[in-house]
């Protein structure tokens, strides 16, 4: 039973997910899963899954440095990952 009732925007894409899905998961569902670029420009993706490592930082609805592993998807949310230049 899948209820893809939440639609959000990740970079230039739209994606629909079930309730209870985190933004980190939605980013992976939408493509590569890369969240930020390191200070030397290397791609990074979620590591700890629990709000400690800060590797999953993205910009959500204009707020930078949000932890995508600890944020649930919401309808109409706008997420920017490193591929759009946010860190």
């Amino acid at each position: 039973m899948t209820d893809l009732s939440i639609t959000l925007h990740i970079d230039a894409r739209s994606i629909s997910v079930e309730p209870g899905v985190t933004v980190a998961a939605a980013i992976a569902l939408a493509g590569g899963g890369v969240t930020r670029l390191s200070v030397h420009g290397h791609p990074r993706a979620p590591l700890c899954g629990m709000g400690v490592c800060q590797e999953c930082r993205v910009t959500i609805d204009g707020r930078a440095h949000q932890l995508s592993c600890q944020t649930l998807c919401a309808n109409g949310m706008h997420v920017l990952t490193a591929s759009e230049g946010a860190a």
């Binding site: 998961a25 791609p43 800060q54």
Partner: protein, 420 residues
Amino acid sequence: MKRYDILIVGAGPAGLAAAHAAATQGASVGIIDDNPLAGGQIWRGGPELQSDARAPQLWHALQRTDNVEFLLQTRVMYAPQPKQLLVQTPSSSATLSYEKLILATGARERLLPFPGWTLPGVTGAGGLQALAKGGYPLQGKRVVVAGSGPLLLAAAATLQAKGAQIVAIIEQANTPSLLRFGFGLLATPSKIAQALRLMAQLRGVPYLRDSYVHSARGDGTLQSVQVQRGAARGQETLQCDFLACGYGLLPNVELAQALGCATATRDAQTVVTVDEWQHTTVDGIYCAGEGTGVGGVDLALAEGHIAGLAASGQHAQAKALFAARASWQKFAGRLARAFALRAGLSALAGDDTIVCRCEDVCHGELRTHTGWRSAKLQTRCGMGPCQGRICGGATEILYGWRPDTVRMPISPTRIASIID
């Protein structure tokens, strides 16, 4: 300013048990957690949905009391005054005041650097388990689960249930240690049942003992891992889409330290010092669960219960739980001994392996320093947003350094939260 008789940080098993115990005594209770749902690490995604019957029972009991308030997606930053905490949500901040504070901040995974560990696709073992519980897509993916401790089995079982194909489980502990641990389980029959259930679920998955991940490779994202099999045998390459690699757990003691609570070193962990009532060295502040030493859900529940009762003045009732706590403390000791980390793990990082992921500081830049403080000042190691939470556990194994001070705020804070 909102005021609570008892404020609890952490809505995992310890925090929920403490909240329940305190609320039954009539106290007004606030319970804070940075996750969007209660449950902590083991009951991630909500206690009401767990198969462990204690989780929904606790949850429903808490829902029936009207003196418990949940503050979710709320992170504790620092204490502006004694008996006050400044907290931050994704959009706002607030100061909360309390009479008694119970810290139930749990544990995190110890992650160790090896060549390739910054490649997307490499995560912690509990890390990938947590991500999977939040809907991370693993259907049909090949996953190597590696590191040390019983969490590897729990993580592998969760990942498999989410559709992943577990290539192998790689445990660094050797066979004699594992056998000793297995026999020790006779003292805690419920753990035997749990182990048997996990083993049945993972039937057919190779469990490589005395082995560890040497390096991870891939072009842009992870493609394969090199595994060292024992000391005598050579290396083996395993193709995979994910490597979930964690070397046991480390107590989250930063908030306690920032509030002035004393810590000690026990079983190679920094733990918050508590007395028999779970009371720390700071008046009115208690600590329960993994923060006082990693011991699993049963110990966390017993300690949380004791802390909640003690903080609300019910010492006689709390005493009735001392025997249960003592038995789970023994289990925790056996756990720490069986899965003690082998020396070879500190030799995996090459000079160009990143140790501090926030600031991209490599092993070659760090290994010549004599301590955490000089390394931090000269390389920025540990100065990034994770504030040494990840590299601190690594530099301890690599160089024997322990982070010396906890900076306030304990997490990256918005300027507005501080100056408001």
